[in-house]
């Protein structure tokens, strides 16, 4: 049977929003108990909870309840949240893959537009790119390269697996969108002329 004083100290430590020391705890009882007596009680409570899912721990003379560190993995549950890479991020990733190692300024020069810091962060979070030191030019900018995880994700054995510019052109990936549009319209015109004839 747990005595009343021990119950009271336990409840105080539980409900407190800050860690408490024996002096503060004793103060709640007026002059009925000394900090020394309270300290012994606190230690008894800690011993009673040892090995359970609740721990009473001392930090700089103050005591507080917490959950054991070895159970932390149960208290945070992880869930997959797949997201589609943005067009801008895909461009930056491609530039790094084709030109690595490159600095942010070089990426911007190739893309022709500014690249937000967030885009590189996303690619680093995905672990597809990593910093690869600094370029020895004024300002010593950070340079980036792709990672092994990048090769794995995109099913490449090495960087030389990436199709060359000529391959891209042959695959139609270098056709400007508006040129393709014009061609489609030209075909329409031919059909109309045919009808008129």
């Amino acid at each position: 049977m747990i005595d009343d004083l021990e119950r009271a100290v336990e409840a105080m430590l539980f409900a407190s929003d800050t860690p408490l020391d024996p002096r503060q705890l004793a103060g709640r009882f007026g002059d009925a108990v000394t900090p020394g007596q309270v300290k012994a009680i606190v230690e008894a409570i800690a011993a009673r909870h040892a090995g359970s899912g609740i721990e009473l721990v001392e930090r700089g003379g103050h005591w507080h309840f917490q959950t054991p560190a070895d159970l932390a993995h149960l208290l945070r549950r992880e869930r997959d949240d797949p997201r589609k890479l943005s067009r801008a991020a895909a461009e930056v990733l491609a530039i790094i893959a084709y030109h690595e190692p490159v600095s942010r300024a070089e990426i911007e020069a190739i893309r022709g537009v500014q690249t937000s810091k967030g885009t590189l962060d996303v690619l680093m979070e995905a672990e597809w790119i990593a910093p690869a030191g600094r370029r020895e030019v004024p300002g010593r900018p950070l340079i980036y390269k792709t990672t092994d995880a990048f090769l794995q994700h995109f099913g490449l054995t090495g960087r030389k697996d990436l199709p060359g510019i000529d391959d891209l052109r042959a695959a139609g990936l270098l056709d400007p969108v508006d040129l393709a549009f014009e061609e489609a319209m030209g075909e329409l015109d031919l059909v109309k002329d045919g009808e008129e004839a």
Partner: protein, 262 residues
Amino acid sequence: MNELALDFEGTPTAPDHDDALRLSLESWEGPLDLLLTLARSQKVDLKQISILALVEQYLAFIAGARELKLEVAADYLVMAAWLAYLKSALLLPKDPLEDPSPDELALRLQLRLQRLAAMREAAARLLARDRIGRDVFLRAKPEGLRDVKLRRWDASLYDLLAAYGQVKLRTEPVVHMVSRRPVVTLDAALHHLERLIGVQLDWAELSAFLPSDYAGPLRRSAIASSFVAALELARQGRVELKQEAAFEPLFLKAAQTGYQSA
């Protein structure tokens, strides 16, 4: 009960002291609330309550309030009128044909008071329970259970290559390739039109002057050139142009006066 002390400032006190029923009309939540308080002052179970006595208490209270020139809300007066009717019905000899009978009305009133009393008592017992933050306490700062979303980025090799293609394209030096197309030159159109205008006497559509063997892009070019040629001839005063409205066919004929084609 006739010495109701009316206290308009103070808070209502426990209704048990029937010799000192201090109340202000505002402190009651309607006539039923007042009736229940008065009923409690009879100090009997609501099942044994004398409805007749209760009616008299209520009417005395309202009369007292009016003597003091208090404004009595309409619903209290409606209840007073109804209770006055109930009182007289209860006092008169029973009329077996009257429906509903005064006894039934009294019973209904009693049932309503019982139900309100039961809920009032239940509320008091509820509020007296061990309440969180007053009697029992939770952990002030629990660690909390967290659901952590692991972001996983998704892209295919195609996305990557297509993106690179667009970058290359956007930044390539722009070269305009103008392809050579079959055209009818302005000179040719002018010559052709000059020749025909001499033959045509009346208004004729511009398209009538086009050579019939032009087809496809060549025909479009011929229309454009002939139009410019027509404008040129009009400027020289050699043809007249007319159009009924915008986008209507353009008509032309040789000018009436002046220059005759050689």
